[in-house]
């Protein structure tokens, strides 16, 4: 099975080339399903197909820790959602030219999540 790295955070002991790699965590896509891969290569299947939700709800993917340098690689806008629905990026606009042809806008209602309604707007 081929996998695509959607997002990666590598934590180093500090800045510069001499810093030690402490941890690397990836969000990958395997046949349309998101997984989190840790430093040891173990993979955990994500519940949803929404990049933003997965990054936001997975501490190891979103957190920058004091005293460490987090080097992040983000490949947003990739089109691998379940049932043909697009994966939305938490962050920037599409950067993958291949995805631009098919990706719908990054935002809009989440395909996997329903937020509770505000109390007195309705």
């Amino acid at each position: 099975m081929s996998s695509t790295v959607i997002y990666e955070v590598a934590r180093y002991s500090g800045p510069g080339d001499g810093a030690t790699l402490l941890e690397s965590v990836q969000l990958i896509a395997v046949e349309g399903v998101l997984r989190v891969r840790d430093s040891g290569g173990s993979e955990t299947v994500c519940v949803g197909a929404d990049v933003g939700v997965e990054i936001g709800s997975t501490p190891a993917l979103r957190e920058v820790r004091a005293g460490q340098e987090a080097r992040i690689t983000c490949r947003a806008g990739t089109q691998i959602g379940q049932h043909g629905s697009p994966i939305r990026s938490l962050f920037g606009p599409e950067v993958d030219p291949l995805a631009l042809e098919t990706a719908t806008p990054l935002f809009g209602r989440s395909p996997t999540r329903t937020w509770p309604r505000l109390k007195f707007l309705w």
């Binding site: 965590v25 994500c46 501490p59 004091a66 606009p93 937020w115 509770p116 505000l118």
Partner: protein
Amino acid sequence: MSVFGMDAVDALYRGAQIDDRWAVRSDRGYTWWTDDLAQHVSLGGVRATPSGDECTLTVWTDVVTDVDPTTNPGQVLALVNMRELAMNAFVWERESATIKMFCSMSIHEGNTGNAERLIGLPAMLQNYMAHALADRLAAQCGGSRAVSSHPHTGSHADLEDLRAFASMVIDAGEEPSLFSRTEPGELPAEHRESWMSGLPAFAERLSCHGSGNDIAFTAEVPFASSGHSACIEVFTHQPQPVWGYGAWVVLQLPLTPGADEAFVLANALNAQEFDWAPPGLATLGAWSPDFLDADMDGLAFSTFVPNKFAGSGMLENLFIYSALRARFAADVLSS
């Protein structure tokens, strides 16, 4: 009952040097009294994530009861939220006619050891500000100070530690922002870059358009399917009226509901975050009308981090919270 997160609760309890005589413990938190207002610490439900368990720790203080809705409490609180608070929010709950002050943070295996610093310091400021502002807000909102006491040991009045803590934070805010400070490196003519200066590259790695320097940074993050972007502003050259220098992190939404509606929406969003927020979203600030806009007819979420709380990685995490929050707000407001 899960014990996950209780280490963080215990660390907060110890860090605040709470006397058992003025506290009531519960399975997932505690309530305590430094004076006549109760502060609550409570862990939410535990959820499994691909990198371990996580839960939300919320700290809130009861401030005013019997609020009169005709006094426009939303506007009163928004003005305080944007001018006087740091890392907390006042919220008016219409149904219970109460005003509370709160902050929250995600607790997970990676940060349980640092919880005392991450949310303990904002919680201390909250306790101090709640006691300091309760009478004024009660008068402005036609309510009463939310006086309560320990069920067994009665009333308590010992604000000296909190006053001393607040003085320490204010004193640290007199020097220029630590977020903008460069320091000498190990080699001659070498300098450690400021925490502010690292933000543009961080935003770039997240595919966000951003630019900045040692004192100011701006970036765009996606907001809604219309293609509009929200704006994240971080700046350090403007002191906060109460707490002095530090770092402002302001998320501006691309909406202009008008000033009157912005006050209503701001309180509604604060109430929403107090009630429920997406996993991972820390509430260390408040929604208010967009005070960076002269007309204040937009919506913004602002966090002010006083110098005393400055640390590496903090701005990056607040940036990520802002991106999460823009998306959350877009979803909530378009529901």
